[in-house]
Amino acid sequence: MEPYEKVLIDEEFLDEDPHGEIACEACHGGNPKAANWKVAHKGMIPDPTYPNATNACGECHEEIVAKNKTNVHISLSGFSHLVGVRASTDKAVREKVFKGMKTHCFQCHSSCGQCHVSRPDSVEGGFVAGHLFHKTPPMETNCTSCHGSRVEKEYLGKNPGVPGDAHYAKKGMECIACHTGEEMHGMGKNFNHRYEVENAPRCENCHQDAASPKAKIKTHRLHRGKVSCHVCHSVTYKNCYNCHVGKDAKGLPYFKTDKSELGFKIGLNPNPNKNRPYKFITVRHIPVSKGTFDFYVKDGLANFDALPNWKMATPHNIQRTTPQTKSCNSCHGKKELFLLEQDVAPQEREANKKVIVPKDAVPRSR
């Protein structure tokens, strides 16, 4: 986008959008009576909805704004919790890790405005359509501009040789079809992980028969509660490795990751619970490594082994028929599909001991 396009207001916003009736300075501050742009922009707030949307949105959208602070796109509670568990218990070291996290990880957040008006700041912002408000954020300019490396490529079939998700390819379903506004706006409760969010989508919300003990398809009945839906119905997906963050000579923050790899691995469920009682789940290598914050402090993630970095994954490339569904022995006895000790780097084996599948735990061929 050209710089001017990012801030060009469409006159339709003034004529048609109810938000166009509100004076600019009521939300953005600044001085509209100033004689030149420099003075006019003094004290101007580009995104008046972040970090607190109360003033800009609260008067009309009170209920949504009240819950919004617990929205994981805003709170980033998953980052804080998981890095917090892995971080050193030494207070000074911990502070440096959190400083690094604030400089890097916390730059990827959203806000009311960065979903409904503009592209997110992390992709350099800019109005989606001349400051018009979109009730439903457009998938291609908002959702996938952040969730691009993994979700977008899986869902739209952009990984070479890997088909896109059937929900998109066959039904044209966009993100919001499963990830509703209620989920996106937060529940008013804090969660330590996105997989804990209580109103997050579940396959069985729509595919009720498949999750029923009386499911029409025999393999659904046989595997019910034992394997996650993704184990059978997802295909090759992306794994990321070895993220390191730091600042360059100009003081600008950077990140470096090793080359991503496509793969498919079934691991043990390290945390079976009421919602996910499965023994087997799909696992993805995530980018965090022991040295992620080395630029800020040595051994910052001293408790790295407390959590796996082959992590439960819900790849967004669901297919009715996959290599695993062809026959029983497409999975049973097929050790290469499972995350074995040999698949995990020696320095990461301790962290992943709960997800590594012992050779004798691979289901036997039939």
């Binding site: 710089p3 600019c24 742009w37 006019a40 993220c243």
Partner: protein
């Protein structure tokens, strides 16, 4: 006699009408000034003005790209 007095004070009804009229006119003028006539809107709906200003900003900026060139890989 009362009827006679009422006839003499008929013009008092005009006072609230003038107030209401002034209030409505003031409200409309204010709304137009803050939106269509404001500096914000006149500039932010003009491609010409925005191109000029964004070029001015880019020319003055010593660091046009605020993203590090050292970033590598997928985020």
């Amino acid at each position: 006699m009362l009827r006679q007095k009422g006839k003499e004070l008929w013009y008092l009804w005009l006072v609230p009408l003038i107030f209401v009229g002034c209030f409505l006119i003031w409200g409309t003028v204010d709304s137009v000034q803050t939106q269509e006539g404001s500096t914000c809107i006149s500039c932010h709906t003009s491609v010409k003005d925005l191109v000029k200003i964004t070029r001015e900003i880019a020319a003055k900026s010593k660091r046009p790209c605020q993203k590090s060139a050292e970033s590598k890989g997928e985020g």
